[in-house]
Symmetry: C2
Subunit: 217 residues, 2 copies
């Protein structure tokens, strides 16, 4: 651990050698993907909704329709946004020591809604460019009506932690001699071959993707 937890609730209680409060580590986990899960409390009950997110400096953003129940439910109230990348199955010599390699980040905070059109447009462009560099300028301009129909929430990455497991299984010493296969089965998220829209008649190339994901095919 290279930094202290911002608050007690974000402090890792168990296996804290896997935890980090270092902003660089947290940012690296966030920047490696774009799918997160937002939790908020609605009528006393927890609700967890998947969302795409992006980061700009010290803030994390997510967006959707202005009519979205999640965006209206989360704005101005406490949320927990969690991002998890499953990197592998850790196959030990006993069931008990099976595990998973993963990188996760958890951010607590209270999101606020972006209001200015210029700020909203800037963030929409940043999101597009984070995933598909160069694409934003190829698209027709966003209309005022579309901007109004889009809600963007922003939240500072202040109260956050990362948790990471890497490496081989850790077995009981007397189990290492057992003949069962042991090691790591890597898991990754990959892009497949682009599938053009049947109504696409142009000659433009498919977009180049960022995010550090690997391409198959």
């Amino acid at each position: 651990m290279t930094a202290k937890p911002a608050t007690d609730r974000v402090r890792l209680r168990r296996l804290h050698e896997r935890g980090s409060y270092d902003r660089g580590t947290i940012n690296a986990v966030l920047d490696a993907g774009c799918l997160g899960h937002v939790g908020y409390v609605s009528g006393g009950s927890p609700v967890v909704i998947p969302t795409l997110y992006w980061r700009d400096g010290d803030n994390i953003y997510w967006h959707g329709s202005s009519a979205s129940r999640m965006l209206r439910g989360a704005e101005g109230t406490e949320v927990c946004l969690t991002v998890t990348h499953l990197d592998g199955f850790v196959m030990a010599r006993s069931g008990f020591h099976h595990s998973a390699n993963f990188r996760s980040a958890m951010i607590f905070g209270t999101p606020h809604k972006l209001n200015g059109d210029a700020e909203k447009l800037k963030q929409l462009e940043l999101f597009m460019e984070a995933v598909f560099p160069g694409r934003w300028s190829q698209l027709r301009p966003t209309t005022a009506q579309e901007l109004k129909a889009t809600t963007i929430l922003a939240m500072p990455i202040d109260e956050a932690s990362a948790k990471i497991r890497t490496g081989p299984p850790g077995d009981d010493e007397e189990d290492y001699a057992l003949p069962v296969w042991a090691g790591v089965l890597p898991v990754s998220v990959n892009y497949g071959r682009p599938e053009p829209c049947t109504r696409f008649a142009g000659t433009a190339e498919p977009p180049i993707v960022s995010l550090g994901l690997r391409t198959t095919n």
Copy 2:
């Protein structure tokens, strides 16, 4: 939609043509993976924790160390367990109509802890066999101490919904003629080449994996 929502909070409010309350649809989403996000309320605040899960009939299960803060925090209180598979980026002719293809399932409920050793062992075996068919019998038996150190939570899949988006972008009619590339960029979770533990000296083959995921390499 082929079935009615069990309760009002699980009813999809927007784009409800993407929603389903059909158990077969929900089960198919759950059975296609093993990574979920559990949300619960702790001290009035939402907490979202990643976990591996499995399904047995009408119940969903997850587990971990008996010392786990998440398992102790979630037992006997309301949770929302959400599972999301990102299937593709939907690239439209405008920024506004960009979307994602995905399958998600959301389950509300109050989990309870499994108590009997026989029931716990049965579920641990089911979990292992769901991911790695044939592996459980290759492992040394689980000890009583390991079983005691493992907490398993179970929750009925009663109050649940699925939400699925598939297919090409839906653009504004006047935008289809624009020359920008449009279509779907598929995203999938893949297994990579197994990495044997450096202390593995046996001749056993790597496990065969289930879950319907594709294998790369």
